[in-house]
Amino acid sequence: MTTLIILVGLAIYVLLYFLYGKKLERDVVGATDANEAPSSRLYDGVDYIPARKAVLFGHHFSSIAGAAPIIGPALAMAYGWVPGLLWVWFGNVFIGAVHDYLALMASVRYDGRSIQFVASDLMGKRTGTAFYWLVFFLLILVVAAFSAVVGGMFVKTPAIASAYVWSIVAALILGVLIYRVKMNFTLASVIGVIMLAVAIFLGVEFPMPATYETWMYILFFYIIIAAAIPVNVLLQPRDYQNSFLLYAGLILGLLAAVFAFRGFEVPAFTSFSPILTGGKPTPFWPAIPLIIACGSLSGFHSLVASGTTSKQLTKESDGLLIGYGAMFTEGFLSTIVVVAIAGFGFTALQTAAAEKGIEFTLTASTWATQFTPLSSKLGLSQANLFIQSYADMVAATWLSVIPTQYVKVLAGMWVAAFALTTLDTTNRLARYCVSEMALPLKGTSAGLYNFLTNRWIASLIPAFIGIYLAYSKNFTILWPSFGAANQLIASIALMTGACWVHSKLQSRFCHVAVIPAWILWVTVTAALVWFMWVPLPANIASSPVQGWTVMGISIVMLIMNFIFIVDFVKKYYREQVQSK
């Protein structure tokens, strides 16, 4: 079954890439190499620079790949493996990849300008400005959700914590070798990979056990420090080193999934509304985008695609592979996650329960009500469940020559690397968002403006609020709120894409953008209302400050969401009436 699903997933992606993707390219966007791309038209040798298709694909993919495609599908196992997998595939093909591709191509046609600029131009300035607010909220919630993931992982498997700390030391050394010693790049890379292997070895041999709260303090200072030091000291060599982890993890996972030849242990479908978010029954529709989040589609992708990728695209025909194809690759990563947990997650939970002496009552019929509470009780939820299942999946194949403990640490470092690279870049982005958001205060209240835009204050706000939220350990509340912010950005970006296709390209196939835009907006809006109506009040009762913080953010996001739809409807349908 594991092999079958991987092959079916692969076939779906390849087929729809050529059928739906090519249709999108040809009939909707009308991509043609006759249009000179901004990378050559506006070539400046730094931002606007043509990159080879494969290189740009790698660059774009490693930028958009994150921890959410691993954690989201793991949480969605509460529904059984089929619903989550269907949302990953459906969302990828018809919403997520369309969103990424349109953002990329709109940016290309707008001289490499951002999707935010395109939104301002097409739908009104306030829609563009709203990006700052949504991204800022998202940064706070990213810190909260990802710190909780990393903290949970480091507590459960102290070897991962130790290996990651050693890998940071390795990255610092790599930075010195490349930038100070000016060592030959290939030699430095080889040394970097060896140091990474040594870090994993040291992690396994000398684990670093600490409490969840201790890790929260450490992460708080890490986020602040990592954002303050020059990029070439830690961020750049660490990102470079992590790309090896990403590819090693993906290739190993793919091989293991293909050769595991194992039936699925997790039920295919459990319930439409299992216990999940905040311990409440969570209906598949509309809540699923908040749970799976980036595994299916992500708003950040539109920013990445229109921020750097569009300036480096050599020709328009490369856009489909990079914009549409990279999202498929991320979806394929989610497919591997589903396969690993569906094939090996049940045994992992059973073994953990036996080790802890906890009565194991999880069966197909009790799965909907007991999976989330039990996995959380066993410390084997979301990332931890994936790590254990991944290691067991590798151990079930000829790849078992690699000791399971090492595979577990490798998988853990993979997730930690994804989460931590996002965490330590949030502050740099937050500083920028705060300074743009506070701009109206400059004339009226210069003192407050100067205070808010102070680099330390602007950095501390998201780090402090985020870590404070994570401190509560209420992960199943933090995760959907992060998902909501992310999916809302995707919703605006897709509406922008739909407007662009409709008004600028005047494509008669614009419904392939407009229909997913409406589906996404209605679903995310309903999900946000449900989230504020059902799980959040219970959360407010148990932890008021955390609950009200999330509620406040959700209320502002919901109001903005209605403003967007008004802008979209005004722009889109007024033009339609005019054209008639």
Partner: protein
């Protein structure tokens, strides 16, 4: 072209290497851009009201500055639109 798994693997490794080099160089390139910005401001600053002393230098160099002026224009327009670029540059994603 003749298909062979070895050449395919070699091609894959070369592209992977290219990608790594590209990622490593991208952020350093931003530093270079800042230096270019400073240079352009220094030489052409007087045109936008900055009291740059070497105006005569700008006039003398003007015929060779066409590309720089074009880039300066694009960057001036992009200066208020950095959010997406930062997301792409920092590779931030959920």
């Amino acid at each position: 072209m003749k298909f062979s798994p070895i050449s395919l693997l070699r091609e894959f490794l070369v592209r992977l290497d290219d990608h790594h080099r590209e990622s490593a160089a991208a952020l350093t390139a931003v530093e270079a851009r800042e230096l270019e910005n400073i240079f352009a401001l220094l030489v052409l600053g007087s045109f936008i009201g900055l009291p740059a002393p070497p105006t005569f230098l700008a006039v003398e160099l003007l015929p060779f500055m066409e590309r720089e002026i074009r880039i300066l224009n694009v960057r001036a327009e992009d200066a208020g639109d950095m959010l997406a670029e930062m997301c792409g540059m920092l590779g931030i994603d959920g």
